[in-house]
Symmetry: C2
């Protein structure tokens, strides 16, 4: 089977982008502060509007607090063994969650990962743990089928 | 089997970082120019010092020409089905290759990918195609075994 557009780069629709973000697990966050550009992987959940993650205090949290506009990149390469790939690049504002909003992040992660997700057991997140979301805008996706 | 440090984050040695970069295929480049932070995946080859890639003219090339200091991120999640992961974050200067140096990039990609790699067939790269390398410094790697 040789489709006419085999190997050509195709733009993903918003529905395809959402489906891809719902099925993937790792996003790379790109942030920039103090002259440094930093890319770091995070395990995330997606609810159709926001990426949610829980992390610990550190370089990426400090940078995103200083410069909240971040890039979110998700890709998948060669899942079919033929070199096909999909990638999504989006932007959004880093928003730290506190109080009841922490539950939004934990619920999204539980929905995505079941028992693997962190739980607060009603006792809060613990010292040094940070929950955040990034409301995505400017989403673009591309795919090549081989 | 429960190793005492099961689940703990471990720093990778330089040898482990090099082995990981040699075995992986996709790097995410983080660049920043004109107030925008951009993360984009590239298929790369690594020779122990530099990441090599071939791409087309576009946003990432324009941004890296303007601001050559970039972040290179490579990760692998859940290759064992238990949630273990490894990631490497490094920095380096974008260096565009021309003339005979294009052969360095193509040779590295052929070494890594065999016949999948682009070939110039002695005719150069063609219009709009860009070969570049990033000589890595400040490499750090982390791993969690589960």
């Amino acid at each position: 089977m040789h489709s006419p557009d085999r190997g050509a780069i195709r733009e993903l629709s918003r529905d395809e982008i959402d489906a891809f973000l719902l099925e993937q697990r790792i996003a790379r966050l790109g942030c920039h502060a103090g002259g440094l550009t930093y890319v770091v992987p995070v395990i995330y959940a997606y609810d159709g509007e926001c990426v949610y993650a829980v992390t610990t205090e550190g370089q990426k949290v400090a940078m995103m607090r200083e410069s909240p506009r971040v890039c979110v990149e998700v890709d998948e390469y060669d899942a079919d063994g033929r070199g096909s790939w999909r990638s999504v690049i989006a932007y959004g504002e880093y928003e730290e969650l506190g109080g009841d909003d922490v539950g939004l992040a934990l619920a999204a992660l539980r929905e995505a990962f079941g028992r693997e997700a962190p739980a607060d057991g009603g006792r809060g997140l613990g010292p040094g743990v940070v929950a955040f979301r990034i409301r995505l805008d400017e989403l673009t996706g591309r795919a090549v089928a081989r």
